[in-house]
């Protein structure tokens, strides 16, 4: 093994999220840890939603990246705790999401807002208007809700808080 842990993190930033290809699996917060045990690389990943169909692809892509880097001895482990939250998404990732056309998740106490049945303003990623309304809590993937903009009339996805 000729790489440092930091270098392996850099390689993993090359792995795209299969559903949202503008984001990589590190800035999504899916890769939780990279460890070296003797000479073995262990990558810890965590699912966004329990049933996220992209997890199989992500694990496979991580494996392929490691093979491509000529790392022979490795393991990819799935962990559940701490449970993934949209709060882990980096600021850079939020900007990229919005540019891609998906309204980024609001930050902080996602659970509390949901419990109170309260939704804060979601900004239209196209015209930036805050005059938007939710069409459906459940959208094109498990992690998104469907919104529409009342100003530019554009329907859009909102990455919902979890």
């Amino acid at each position: 093994m000729n790489y440092t842990i930091q270098e392996i993190w850099e390689f993993l930033k090359e792995v795209e999220d299969p559903e949202i290809p503008v984001l990589n699996v590190v800035e999504m917060g899916i890769v939780r840890d990279v460890q070296l045990e003797d000479n073995k690389v262990i990558v810890f990943i965590t699912p966004t939603y329990s049933g996220c169909p992209a997890m199989h692809a992500i694990e496979q892509d991580v494996r392929e990246m490691l093979v491509e880097m000529h790392i022979e001895d490795f393991d990819v482990k799935t962990i559940l705790s701490p449970a993934w939250t949209t709060d882990w998404m980096t600021e850079e990732a939020r900007v990229k999401l919005e540019e891609y056309g998906i309204a980024p998740p609001q930050k902080g106490s996602a659970d509390k807002n949901l419990l109170m049945g309260k939704l804060r303003d979601v900004r239209c990623p196209r015209c930036k208007s805050s005059q938007t309304s939710m069409v459906s809590q459940f959208g094109s993937t498990a992690c998104k809700s469907l919104y529409k903009c009342e100003d530019c009339k554009e329907p859009f996805d909102y990455f919902k808080c979890i």
Binding site: Y49, G51, P82, S136, A142
Partner: protein, 249 residues
């Protein structure tokens, strides 16, 4: 099998069977958004079932894989609640089941997230975040239908009445769980009943619906005594695995 594993299988079966039922709505939802919503929830349930089956397969020490648990048992080996295997009925029936069960499951997972068993605790903390969305969805629709038209009101009231006597077994402590709930591994389901009733009452009031009268209740799901509907559901669920043995999901 350890008691924690038997409990994990019960939760897995609840998730798998309800997930399968909701998946039947895919392509048949009353409107596109609801079709997508129910398919999303089905995915959450089946994902949660996968986590549980995988855990049991890894810890139980026998040769069974997660696929064996999901696909290669007969009806009496499944320990899901009876309500979850009932056919979907009309949309009001599906929604009333979703709402009443999500109220239960949310309370259950909230308690389970304090479990002294690391896996169950982590599973609960992860899953409860998803189930809060299910609860909100179910509740919204009960309000919308109850406080909607004469037709929607009548249908959702009938649906709540029809499913009511399948909810009793959700609060009957199972002998397997009694010991482990005493040692803090899982909640005592009896203790959830009062809060559940209060929450349901509040929603039904707001929806201008009548609370059904609790009388005789169906039970037996946890013991593997099922309705005639489970076998038919399994024949569809298990078809691919039986026809093409050893395929993996």
């Amino acid at each position: 099998m350890k008691k924690e594993e038997a409990l994990a299988l019960h939760l897995a079966d609840n998730n798998l069977i309800l997930g399968q039922r909701l998946a039947e709505w895919c392509g048949h939802g009353p409107v596109l958004e609801e079709d997508i919503a129910l398919s999303n929830m089905a995915l959450d349930y089946i994902g949660q079932a996968t986590l549980l089956f995988k855990h049991v397969a890894e810890t139980s020490g026998d040769a069974k894989t997660e696929d064996d648990w999901a696909f290669l048992r007969d009806a009496w080996d499944y320990k899901n609640f009876l309500a979850l295997e009932l056919p979907n009925g009309d949309y009001a029936f599906t929604i009333s089941r979703q709402y009443l069960y999500s109220e239960w499951y949310n309370l259950y997972l909230t308690e389970l997230s304090k479990s002294s068993n690391t896996f169950l605790q982590e599973f609960a903390l992860k899953s409860v975040k998803e189930v809060r969305y299910h609860l909100q969805h179910g509740r919204d629709w009960v309000l919308r239908m109850g406080d909607g038209t004469e037709e929607s009101h009548a249908r959702i009231q009938k649906a709540v009445n029809d499913i009511w006597n399948y909810t009793g077994e959700w609060f009957i402590p199972n002998t397997n769980d009694t010991d482990i709930s005493a040692s803090g591994i899982c909640p005592n389901v009896e203790s959830l009943h009062q809060t559940w009733m209060e929450n349901v009452q509040a929603t039904l009031n707001e929806a201008t619906l009548q609370m059904p009268v609790s009388g005789w209740m169906h039970k037996g799901g946890r013991e593997g005594k099922h309705t005639e509907h489970l076998g038919h559901l399994l024949s569809e669920l298990q078809f691919v695995q039986r026809a093409y043995p050893n395929s993996k999901w």
